[in-house]
């Protein structure tokens, strides 16, 4: 109890969090309703969700569910249910949580996600999603649609764009057949406009963290990104991102930081340890460490615009952070370090997510070489707390912080 009280002292809660909770609750209810009406699809975080939304299909996000499992500290249990039926401990813990929750809904938070009628996977984040959705398809009987977005190194070639575009056409067909739905240009424009608006508001809040003190810390952004990840294209979230931006701007105007006593500004790389998110970031906040930027929450920043909306969809969803080569990641990290005036960086090597974590050793070296700031790699997992060794993490972080004294 005393611990929590102390933490509140260094960390300033956002008032807009109340609104966030409300819309996330409503989102959950809508998911259940869509499922009951046999109109629900599960989608991956990098899926062009604007299309199912424009076609009136409800969506739920198993990765977000994984984050909930992590935050509720039941990762080992849910991952365990998947392991019991034969899945490897090396498999992504979002996948394990999801498969585990479908296996034992009564023992899972919120009794699992509402039952899907279709599974929409886009491999722009990783190849795991396809196998994972295949597994859920076996469990639930829902068909899988794969939007294939081959990785990009440098500029996206024309034939590559054409290929992804055809995938989008197939998606519209698939949704039409599965849900008896149609896509009109008018509705797509409305949804794209709402999605872009939310993204503009969101990225403005992110950019405000260039200020010192930073108005948001890592945990703030990881929570506040939930609607832009899962409800892009709906009007429900606009109000929230406007309220958040107002609050952020008022903090900046009054020089109010996300933490009380900002001394060291660091970049965070990768998914957060959901099972320890407050303890971890607030613990560092006590020592004056704030994270004004991270590579993860900046990933939802592409707005669908222009005359040809589908061309824009192709470009945005092919060019997501994880679908590009290591150079692009290193460039992004260096850019964030410079733009946000950061003193160093912390890379979380996530056991589950090979796609995000592979190459971190090399990136670390390159980023330090280019920016001159030190960084450190810590290891663990976002959901499965069994592979999170706090003493080892502590030594690495302490040593990094001692470099700034």
């Amino acid at each position: 109890m005393t611990e929590t009280k102390k933490e509140e002292k260094v960390y300033r809660q956002l008032e807009s969090n109340t609104l966030l909770q409300q819309i996330m609750f409503q989102y959950m209810l809508e998911g259940h309703q869509a499922s009951e009406e046999k109109h629900l699809a599960w989608v991956t975080s990098g899926f062009p969700v604007e299309i199912p939304v424009a076609m009136g299909v409800g969506v739920s996000y198993p990765e977000q569910y994984g984050a909930v499992v992590g935050s509720q500290k039941v990762g080992p249990e849910l991952c365990g249910y998947a392991e019991e039926i034969g899945y490897s401990q090396e498999l992504c813990s979002y996948a394990r949580s999801s498969i585990g929750s479908v296996e034992k809904p009564s023992e899972s938070p919120m009794e699992g996600l509402p039952t899907p009628q279709a599974l929409l996977a886009c491999n722009n984040i990783c190849g795991t999603v396809l196998r994972w959705y295949d597994a859920v398809s076996e469990q639930t009987g829902a068909p899988v649609f794969l939007l294939d977005t081959p990785p990009i190194d440098g500029e996206q070639p024309e034939h590559h764009k054409e290929y992804v575009r055809r995938g989008i056409d197939r998606l519209v067909d698939f949704l039409g057949r599965t849900f008896n739905a149609t896509l009109t240009e008018k509705r797509m424009r409305e949804v794209a406009a709402l999605s872009s608006k939310a993204i503009h508001l969101w990225t403005s809040s992110l950019a405000a963290c260039k200020n010192t003190p930073s108005p948001l810390n890592c945990a703030d952004r990881f929570l506040a990104m939930a609607p832009v990840v899962s409800m892009r294209g709906t009007d429900l979230i606009i109000d929230f991102y406007q309220t958040l931006l107002d609050e952020v701007e008022s903090r900046v105007k009054n020089s109010i930081g996300a933490i009380r006593d900002e001394k060291i500004r660091l970049l965070w790389d990768n998914i957060p340890p959901w099972h320890a998110i407050f303890r971890f970031f607030n613990g560092l906040a006590k020592r004056g460490v704030v994270f004004p930027a991270d590579t993860y929450t900046h990933a939802w920043s592409g707005a669908i615009e222009g005359d040809d909306l589908y061309e824009s969809v192709v470009s945005i969803y092919s060019n997501v952070y994880l679908n590009k080569g290591l150079d692009a990641k290193v460039d992004k990290m260096c850019e964030l370090i410079e733009d946000y005036n950061l003193d160093g960086f912390l890379m979380f090597s996530v056991r589950s997510c090979k796609r995000y974590s592979l190459g971190q050793l090399i990136s670390k070296e390159l980023v330090t070489e280019r920016t001159g700031v030190p960084g450190v790699i810590i290891e663990g997992d976002m959901v499965d707390s069994r592979v999170f060794n706090e003493a080892q993490i502590q030594t690495r972080i302490d040593a990094l912080l001692e470099m700034f004294i």
Partner: protein, 260 residues
Amino acid sequence: MGKYGIGIDIGSTTAKGVLLDNTLKIISDFIMPTGASGSRAVEKIMDEIASSSKLKLKGIPIISTGYGRTRVENAEQSVTEITCHSVGIHSLNPDIRLLIDVGGQDSKVIRIGQDGRPVDFELNDKCSAGTGRFLEVMAGVLGVSIDELGPLALKSLSPATISSTCTVFAESEVVGHIGAGKDPADIAAGVHASMAAKIASLSKRVGTVRPVCITGGVALNPAFRYYISKQLGTELWIPEKPQFTGALGAAVIAIRGLSG
């Protein structure tokens, strides 16, 4: 600046204490197995330092370091072994830019900046291969004491190949070599070469910058020194008491402060 400073390094295998005066002369030092209770080790170290230095230790600032650093009650502050080793080596030889410390249960490679503070580091604390523990296990399999293992390896003319980087698998490889009648000296040499390769790759991650210094208990092993120097292609500098650099650095910080 205080007149004296004490550094206490609670490692996973051994606990060390150093008492320094403000000219950075070592007045007293002591090493013992950490055992099951870090706090008992601290008590014993303080008693030994007090009796050998004949000083009253009350009021002398203590900095703790090492894996058990946060559990040293009387310490003014705990500082990581990364920073302490760096500061300790810098106080002995300011030219050193790369430090490789191989302890009982972990190993670390630290790049030291001009001011004696670490600028980059890599730690291996997850896998016993590449630590003193690896050599202990192999000495056990070969039926020699840990002190005999290094000298035995140096007698080899054709080291055996140990390709596995995992202690458990390497152990079966060694058993295989024994079964095949290989000369124990060759097997011991292979064991050291394999461990040196693992540590060399850790140090290449940080970037091998000469001159290179080796510390930790394993630095006392001549075969390890031979193979790591060969792997890195560089001469090594080894302090007189390589196990004490962490505690030494902590004592320097106790006198000068972390930013001093």
